[in-house]
């Protein structure tokens, strides 16, 4: 039997990051944005010109990863963990992210 609690937190964090990143970018959720010309940080869902929302999307994904890792850590201890299944679930979410961003790239061509 694996040391379930920290492992659950790792897989939960991975899945949370992938889901959070996809939701923040896909749904254009309001995030922290940055204007490099004005050197201004602001809160917005839409960016224009040279403004960028990468930092905000990343921050959102990291917060989602932390929340999911914490939730997985607090999950009842007796629950068994199938590491292969958990890794598969996390990788499926990552693959969904890649497919989404690839579709956006191809749509722009």
């Amino acid at each position: 039997m694996s040391p379930a609690r920290p492992l659950r937190a790792i897989f939960g964090g991975l899945a949370g990051f992938a889901a959070g990143y996809l939701l923040a970018g896909g749904l254009k959720l309001p995030v922290v944005a940055y204007d490099p010309l004005a050197r201004r940080v602001f809160w917005s869902a839409q960016v224009t010109g040279t403004q960028m929302r990468y930092y905000g999307d990343l921050l959102t994904a990291l917060l989602a990863a932390l929340a999911c890792a914490l939730f997985a850590w607090l999950w009842p201890r007796r629950a068994r963990l199938d590491a292969t299944l958990a890794a598969g679930a996390a990788l499926a979410l990552v693959a969904l992210d890649v497919a989404y961003f690839l579709s956006r790239l191809l749509a722009s061509s």
Binding site: S2, L7, Y54, A65, A83, A87, R104
Partner: protein
């Protein structure tokens, strides 16, 4: 007149550091994946231990440097050139950034998981998960490196 953008004066030097660190990060992630595959057969424990800290130690600062350089790229390369002359390359760079985020998190996850794999040598259930995470992370980082090289060849940061 364009206002001073974060790190723009040192952009070319930092881009070189970014490139060198990038190769080191990709190769270390590849080594981590190779040792994770060896671990499936119960081999390569010392290499796995070594690259479980070398890979994140190289990938994380490489990623941070990329994030720090991004504003200068956005203004001096993307807005000044790609958005007008090569919009697909601009989108390609954005795609590369997304892959980098995902690759980073997979390599960090694989590095953490490898510590548990080494601590529990009799628990063979962790090894396929480790191999899957580390190989996926390495593949994503290779894609990031190749796309980065292509975009840089089109218009390097720090050149007019």
């Amino acid at each position: 007149m364009i206002a001073a953008v974060l790190l723009e004066r040192h952009a070319r030097a930092l881009l070189l550091v970014h490139a060198v660190l990038g190769f080191a990060a990709v190769f270390s992630a590849t080594h981590l994946a190779a040792y994770a595959l060896l671990a499936l057969r119960g081999k390569g424990a010392s290499g796995l231990r070594r690259f479980s800290w070398i890979a994140p130690l190289l990938v994380a600062p490489q990623f941070a440097l990329g994030l720090a350089l991004y504003p200068a790229y956005r203004v001096h390369v993307r807005a000044a050139d790609f958005d007008r002359n090569a919009p697909f390359v601009a989108q390609l760079f954005d795609f590369k950034e997304h892959l980098a985020f995902l690759g980073l998190i997979l390599v960090l996850g694989a590095a953490l998981l490898s510590r548990f794999t080494l601590r529990e040598p009799n628990d063979t259930g962790l090894r396929p998960a480790l191999a899957a995470l580390s190989c996926s992370g390495a593949v994503l980082l290779w894609a990031v490196a190749l796309l980065g090289l292509y975009v840089t060849a089109r218009h390097p940061l720090g050149s007019p």
